[in-house]
Amino acid sequence: MTTLIENYLREVEASLRVDAARKRQIVDELRTHLTEKVADLRASHPERSAFELEQEVLHEFGNPRDLALAYQPDGSAVLTSAAGDIVLRVGHAVGRGARAVGRGTGAVLKWTAVALGILLAISLGVGAWAYYEVKPYIPSIIESSDPVYTYYESCVGTPCQGALPADTFYVRPEAQTVRFDLDVRPVRLSEEQAAAVPANGSVRVVVADPSGEVRFDRTYELSPMVEGSAAGGRARQLLSWSAVEGNWTVAYTFTDFVGTVQAQTYAIRLPFTADR
């Protein structure tokens, strides 16, 4: 199995929110598709390298995180607020505790567990009520959980080079914060694959607001991970800036870059500003 497809599947697996058995089935099914598609393409394009074909197939397949998200069962959308999340976590923890107590200490404590269960139900009810009361004051992503900008580049078969035309995303006037989630990661390559690409590369990411003011400018240096070696070089950044209405730009400049770059941007409304 190729490391490139396996890398992709690992990313899908890491983002899936289903039980372990279901994860395995989903990943196995996707693996069948990807390997068969690559094999078909190889048969019709023998002149192209396997590496290049895999890269193309994965690009066509879509962003691994988006794919994993699409598997979320209806009605269990990821909570976008910290408060709701905390209520559920506390509820789960109390529930787990109640079950453990009930199992271990007989009938009396079993009733204690039942009482705790009832308390849990009440606290969940109160928590849900409080959540909806407080919700308008919680920072929320404007309109929906969709990012205003997403970017995914996989530079594996051929290292990425040069400056790309700047991407643009629009931030609405009601936004008060712009959150930029950037993930730069190396790919795992076999020794043979690693020998065919530059040992060191970099990507420079520049974000500018509508006035042209540079809000972020950083260069990430990365080396491919050779199979068997320790992981290294991954950079994950969560950045926030005060929002300015208008078109923002993101520019990427690659130099012998081998790895993946993923970015997502959300426009966020701050507390105490929501309409009720």
Binding site: L30, T32, K37, E60, F61, G62, A70, Y71, Y170
Partner: protein, 131 residues
């Protein structure tokens, strides 16, 4: 005139959202149709058949089909089983259920009625604009 700035971004956002919403429903229907038409089959070949039947014009991220297949299965419209691939990893085969066949027939009627009405509306709107 070409829209620019916020207006262009709004139009683009609307277009993308519409595209997503239209495809989400249509692709589910096409997947069910393809499974019913070709009998028990696995994801890659179902998608390959769809591409072939559309003359290569049906464009969507192939990965998005798999969560939709999962939804069809959860709704009881298809069932699945794992079978050995001729070569390579095992394959997950899908086949329609009796409920799936009924739902497909109803959905196709609905689709025809919808496309007829949309075509009528577009035709009438174009006619009204000219006159």
């Amino acid at each position: 005139m070409v829209a620019s700035g916020p207006k262009a971004a709004d139009i683009e956002r609307f277009r993308e959202k519409l595209d997503r919403e239209l495809k989400a429903g249509v692709v589910s229907l096409l997947l069910l149709l393809a499974i019913e038409r070709s009998g028990p089959d696995y994801g890659y070949r179902i998608l390959k058949n769809l591409q072939e039947w559309s003359g290569g014009r049906l464009a969507f991220k192939e990965g998005t089909a798999y969560p939709l297949l999962q939804n069809l299965e959860k709704s009881g419209l298809v069932t699945s089983y794992w079978g050995d691939g001729a070569s390579g990893p095992p394959r997950k085969y899908y086949q329609t259920t009796a409920l799936g066949r009924e739902a497909l027939a109803a959905a196709l009627d609905e689709w025809e009625s919808l496309t007829d009405s949309v075509s009528d509306i577009l035709r009438n709107a174009k006619g009204a604009k000219r006159s």
